[in-house]
Amino acid sequence: MSTHLPILPILLPLLGALLLLLPPLSGSLRRQRAAALLFALLTLLTSLLLLRLQLQGIQLYVLGGWQPPFGIVLVADRLSSLLVLLTSLLGVTSILYACGGADRDGAHLHPLLLFQIMGINGAFLTGDLFNLFVFFEVLLIASYGLLIHGGGKQKTQASFHYVALNLMGSSLFLIALGILYATLGTLNIADMSTKIAALSDGEQALARAGGLLLLVVFGLKAAMLPLHFWLGPAYTAASAPVAALFAIMTKVGIYSMFRIFTVVFGESAGELAFMAQPWIWPLALLTLLAGTVGALASANLRQLSANLVVISVGTLLIAIVLQSEAATSAGLYYLVHSTLVCAALFLLADLIGQQRGKAADWFVMSRRLRQPTLLGILFFVAAMTVAGVPPFSGFVGKVLLLQAAAHSTAQMVWVWPLLLLSSLVVIIALARGGTTLFCRHSNDRSRGEAASPWRVAAVTLLLLAAPLMVILGGPLTQYTREAAGQLHAVPDYLPVLLPGGPS
């Protein structure tokens, strides 16, 4: 059992999704909900077990018994199992929220959510670059279905842009893979890191081109500055549970950048070491700035949340580009925190919007909320967390990152003002939005329906992480530090990652 544990977070959602499409379960929504929740919880359980198992050492799962680098492998190290756990948790909450009624808008929401979880888990676990492409496609095709779920003009329009852009991205990904395979002769990430230093001058130029193409592809997925225009329309158009699950999609891009630009093009890459840094630096700062300006200009809570996702991407790009263990560790803490809180904000926007009638979540005067206290507290906690105000997790994440950026004066001069300024602006934007949503009422005396307990439970579950991540801050930062250590010291782990030696 424990030998097959690394593949279970991929197989379980797949199995669940397939069963949900077959007769005994496909007939009734009630059975679908129960089964979807069951499989999501099972996935969460296996991710927890996997997390515990890999504490003893990196788990290598050799698919079909073909030894790496010739066969395909799954690698469960500190980083990937943490993110798999995060995905599974997010999956449970978004399925829980969907049970509150969003799954009535169209058929097959639950199977699509499970397919999406499978794709994301696979992308985190794979140790092979081509397999990363395959799992990207799995999660993308599920996301295409999810984005358009429920139908409507806005969704169709956002979908076409999203799909066309991502098809272009997939083509670029394949070209990059072709170039890297042609120069390095392998696509196993650990094996690539052993080959990259020994390239001749001509091959180096090709590998550099391939690596930078990968930066474009991951930048598109992560919503890095010039490639982030799809994010706003797509995330605002998507239904709430889908948007919540999408909160981790940008992080898949960030994760891939961590893997490729730290492991393959990292310290041990000879002349190609850190070759993407000069490109990522300005883009990271500009992404942060763009998100900040966008947050001020947002006219409704969903747009604001989408811009907060962009801000978190900018912040994480800074963590990537700092290229130190401390920065990576801070980045991982911030990644977990920002994913959970952004997902909670998307769900909250839907909850608030439903009680305000026609005004939905737009920042305009409207009738009173049905449950102002409950939603007010939830919104307040989410806002404090996302803005980075103590005592919640956002504060810890930002402080860790600021500390990591204090290595040289140049870094401090660029990173500190921008990060602090963006926090301030986020507070202003959230305060402005929050007062309008909760305090400015029209004379309309009609009342909306109370929120379904499923939905409140899902949001509460996500927001519980905010205080928990502070209380468990010690063990958690210890864990992210170890994860960063593993990522930065891949040469030390080569005997585990490539038991047969490099090709």
């Binding site: 081509f130 395959v134 496609e137 095709i141 295409y144 358009i148 139908g151 409507g152 003009k153 169709t156 329009q157 979908s159 076409f160 842009h161 799909v163 066309a164 098809l167 272009m168 997939s170 083509s171 394949l174 070209i175 893979l177 072709g178 170039i179 395979y181 042609a182």
Partner: protein
């Protein structure tokens, strides 16, 4: 052979990118298809081009790299599914939005009023 192959890939990508930048959904879909052809050819060549060589060890003096062939096969299957999806999506967009522009609404007609006066 390399030059011919490379120019084929280049021509396909050129046509694909040109079509992708058009304003209607149908040319964009065609463009994406052409780009995926170009990508598949490119990926195939990443194992070096060889004539009369089978991808099996010990079958002759020379052998081809089997991995790019497997990669291309996967890429073709995925590309096919994605193209089918975007075709349906484009048709849905045409039905939902009432036009086939990629932005969902037609741009205003380009002829300014003064010019129309001159034509009269």
């Amino acid at each position: 052979m390399e030059a011919l192959y490379a120019s084929c890939v280049g021509l396909l990508s050129f046509a694909g990118i040109f079509l992708c930048l058009r304003g209607r959904t149908f040319p964009v879909v065609l463009g994406l298809t052409l780009i995926s052809y170009a990508v598949n050819l490119f990926l195939f060549s990443s194992g070096r081009l060889l004539l009369n060589a089978v991808p099996i060890l010990g079958s002759g003096e020379r052998y081809a790299d089997p991995l790019p062939q497997a990669l291309v096969l996967t890429a073709i299957v995925i590309g096919f599914a994605m193209t089918a999806f975007i075709v349906i999506l484009a048709m849905r967009a045409r039905a939902d939005l009432g036009n086939d522009h990629v932005d969902g609404h037609l741009p205003p007609p380009p002829t300014p009023a003064r010019e129309r006066g001159e034509n009269r």
